[in-house]
């Protein structure tokens, strides 16, 4: 059975069927991400004053990833344009770059996730907080929830937990007061700290369970990363085995590239909002 309207436009819509299909799908995707952005807004406005995290994510790394995704968007549209110009060689080149960009994006994201999973916050029995990246973990948790052994982290100790939330707020050059400068240097100078097990009241890494910010951060970026992986698999198929269609039905193949491209641009579009919302604001 032949699939209708794969290349020619359907009279009532004026479009080939797959194009209507992908736009309907993208419309549902807008609502999916919209619901999660709505969740983000409500979590943020409901957070106690000064306890919504700022500066927890690495801005240069996030910026680099944004540029990688934008680059993949231009290579995607250029791959489609190459097919329109009947240049299959250039199509292969551009989409190889797209796949490379997708892998780079996922690689950078994995590095960022790993950084959060090895980053720990300890609430200590003396009321202080130790925060930093795990260097050595020799802690053993007992049945009653208490700890024995020790852990070594590279980080800093603070008296007030609020200091851990807004890492952008203190700038010694712009603020001026001595106390603020001291606090700023505490943020900047990370040193190795040995945390003794019996002194630990509670501990948690910066995974999705840490607080509402990390929960929505991992949910939003995780769902986005799944889209990147899914899109890369489809583009990879069309670049590899699926490219055989170019010889038998070039127009239909070009349409497939346009459809996968529309999905890829949508993934880029979502990141355009995720980046400032999670990294910068």
């Amino acid at each position: 059975m032949e699939i209708p309207y794969t290349t020619e436009a359907r009279p009532d819509t004026g479009l080939y069927n797959a194009k209507v299909g992908i736009w309907l799908f993208l419309a549902s995707e807008v609502m999916l991400f919209g619901a999660l952005f709505s969740t983000y807004i409500l979590l943020r406005v409901g957070a106690p004053d000064n306890l919504w995290p700022h500066g927890w994510l690495n801005v240069p790394v996030g910026t680099a990833n944004t540029i990688v995704l934008i680059t993949s968007s231009i290579t995607t549209v250029m791959a489609w344009a190459s097919l329109k110009l009947n240049n299959f060689g250039k199509f292969k080149l551009y989409h190889a770059c797209t796949i490379l960009c997708a892998c780079t994006f996922v690689g950078i994201k994995s590095y960022e996730y790993h950084d959060k999973f090895v980053h720990y916050e300890f609430a200590l029995t003396d009321g202080k907080y130790a925060d930093g990246h795990m260097v050595e973990n020799k802690l053993i948790k007992g049945d009653d929830g208490s700890y024995t052994g020790y852990a070594v982290i590279k980080g800093h100790e603070v008296n007030n937990r609020e200091e851990l939330y807004d890492l952008n707020v203190v700038h010694p050059k712009s603020s001026g007061t001595e106390a603020q400068a001291e606090a700023a240097s505490a943020h900047e100078k990370h040193k190795e700290i040995r945390v003794e097990g019996p002194k630990i009241k509670a501990m948690s890494n910066y995974g999705p369970w840490h607080n509402t910010y990390t929960a929505i951060y991992f949910t939003l970026t995780g769902l986005h990363a799944l889209h990147v992986i899914g899109g890369a698999l489809v583009i990879g198929f069309l670049w590899g085995p699926g490219a055989k269609m170019w010889k038998t039905d070039p127009e239909r193949f070009t349409n497939r590239i346009e459809i996968s491209g529309l999905f890829w641009h949508f993934v880029d579009l979502v990141w355009i909002f995720l980046f400032p919302v999670l990294y910068l604001l």
């Binding site: 736009w23 250029m78 641009h265």
Partner: protein, 106 residues
């Protein structure tokens, strides 16, 4: 888009894609730069970042996704999406005023 584009008209498109690409890169750098400006209220930072993000989104949707020259059918689908998305955000902002403060555990 029409399938009968000549090479010449496509070169024109490709030039446009490149301009959009550089505009998106510039927009990204501008967003990062603007986020480090200390306005009196953080709301200004948020507003500015969202304006830049919306401009970038318009460029991606308008040129890379060809929404500047699409068929009526696509616009109809997107009109429904826009209606429900704006409705969702409107309800979110509306309910955020009633949101009990300090109820979210950190």
């Amino acid at each position: 888009m029409s399938d009968t584009h000549s090479h010449e008209s496509f070169s024109h498109h490709i030039r446009r894609y490149l301009i959009v690409f550089f505009a998106l890169i510039a927009g990204t750098i501008f967003t990062v730069w603007a986020s480090f400006i200390h306005f009196e209220s953080r709301a200004v930072n948020i507003g500015l970042a969202l304006v830049i993000a919306s401009t970038k989104a318009f460029l991606v949707a308008g040129y890379f996704m060809h929404l500047m020259s699409e068929k009526k059918m696509i616009y109809s689908i997107l009109a429904f999406t826009a209606f429900f998305f704006v409705g969702l955000m409107g309800l979110t902002l509306w309910s955020s005023h009633d949101f009990p403060w300090n109820t979210v555990f950190h």
